[in-house]
Symmetry: C2
Subunit: 204 residues, 2 copies
DNA sequence: GGCCAACCCGTACACATGTACTAGTTGCCA
DNA sequence: TGGCAACTAGTACATGTGTACGGGTTGGCC
């Protein structure tokens, strides 16, 4: 059994690797930290029996690269392991063919259970357990309209209204309206506070 | 042997716990996720033989709480384990009596070595290994003047110039100068970009 | 068909932000 | 002692930002 574990964070990776070795003692866990090594591994070797995929790591474009990954690995189950757990992102991933979603905030036992279920052919989502700090944030974020969330992501990168307008191919006036609206529903006073909020909550 | 491990992140914590169990097979590792439980543990039980401390977790004020922690635990070695690794923060911690600093970006083997050294009475700092993404960021940040870094931290929280002025008890005009200067030296165009940058680099 | 939410575009105005100056104080170091 | 870096405070000006309007389209739903 061959498992590929993709995450750019060494400690995190080794934490999950230990968990996997405990769950699947016979498996070989290949740890990968960036897109270049992931590509090389998938091209050279045979498709793995399980792919654990972080959403944010060097060289990886969550939206575009996931779909192409899903295509090239037609049969291997893919579980997305991410810091982010806003509803919109997860929905999009599941419709794009992810077999599971596991928040990094979840307890190890919950993760294990999820991994086993997915290997059995199920599709599971695990949200963080216990007292979740980001819960109210998630709630607020998921009450945004898709377009507002879209704009927020750009605000989080520090872009100006004009720049966001260019990227989304709409008028700066419209961007301003989206920003104004999302600030209101999030109960945030300024764009830089929103940027800070979004960056801290993994919306980057 | 009693080890207390403080971090609000379950996976991270279990990753390091596994490492510790491997290093010190006879030790009991107590995992703590927030300040309330940490306080209770330190009041109720005897002082541990080693304290691994994250800098950012619920209820913990890095600057103030670390000094009081250092006072109440006069003999136990304290190793700070943090995502942040800008020079200023580390310097401050070491002068405040930390026995070690380990970046979460470091490889497991390096962490182990650091833990052992500290238990031997040494004082060590471990910076992230390999291709470090945040390295240029750290470089830039540490080239800021103390006051600029101070202001940047406030910007990262989404505060306006006026609010920062109130908190630092200086004129808003002066705040503006600091902001302008730090934007220039960081090569960043706007305050919200700076907020995003700072939040992503753990300066919160 | 009417209704409504979400999206789009624009104007007008108040205020925040960023830069470019001038200028005074402190403290450190050669 | 002179020089320099950092911090402070202010003015003036251009631009960005946030809100309050009005008004348009689309698509879904009763």
């Amino acid at each position: 059994m061959q498992i590929v574990l993709v995450d750019d964070h060494p400690v995190f990776r080794s934490g999950i690797a230990v968990l996997l070795n405990h769950l699947f003692p016979t498996a070989h866990v290949e740890e990968v930290g960036d897109k270049a090594n992931l590509d090389r591994l998938l091209i050279d070797g045979p498709p793995p029996d399980l792919l654990l995929l972080d959403l944010l790591f060097p060289g990886f474009e969550a939206d575009a690269d996931f779909t192409s990954l899903r295509k090239s690995l037609a049969v291997t189950p893919i579980i997305v392991v991410s810091m982010v757990h806003d509803v919109t992102t997860i929905d999009r991933l599941m419709t794009q063919g992810a077999n599971g979603f596991v928040s990094k905030g979840a307890r190890p036992e919950e993760m294990s259970a999820a991994f086993l279920s997915v290997m059995d052919g199920d599709t599971v989502c695990v949200y963080p357990s216990g007292p979740v700090l980001t819960a109210p944030a998630d709630e607020a974020v998921s009450s945004l309209t898709p377009r507002q969330l879209d704009v927020l992501r750009h605000v989080a990168r520090g872009l100006s209204n004009k720049e966001i307008a260019r990227e989304l191919d709409i008028s700066p006036y419209t961007v301003r309206i989206h920003v104004s609206a999302l600030l209101r529903t999030l109960g945030i006073a300024s764009r830089s506070a929103a940027a800070s909020f979004a960056a801290s909550n993994g919306l980057l």
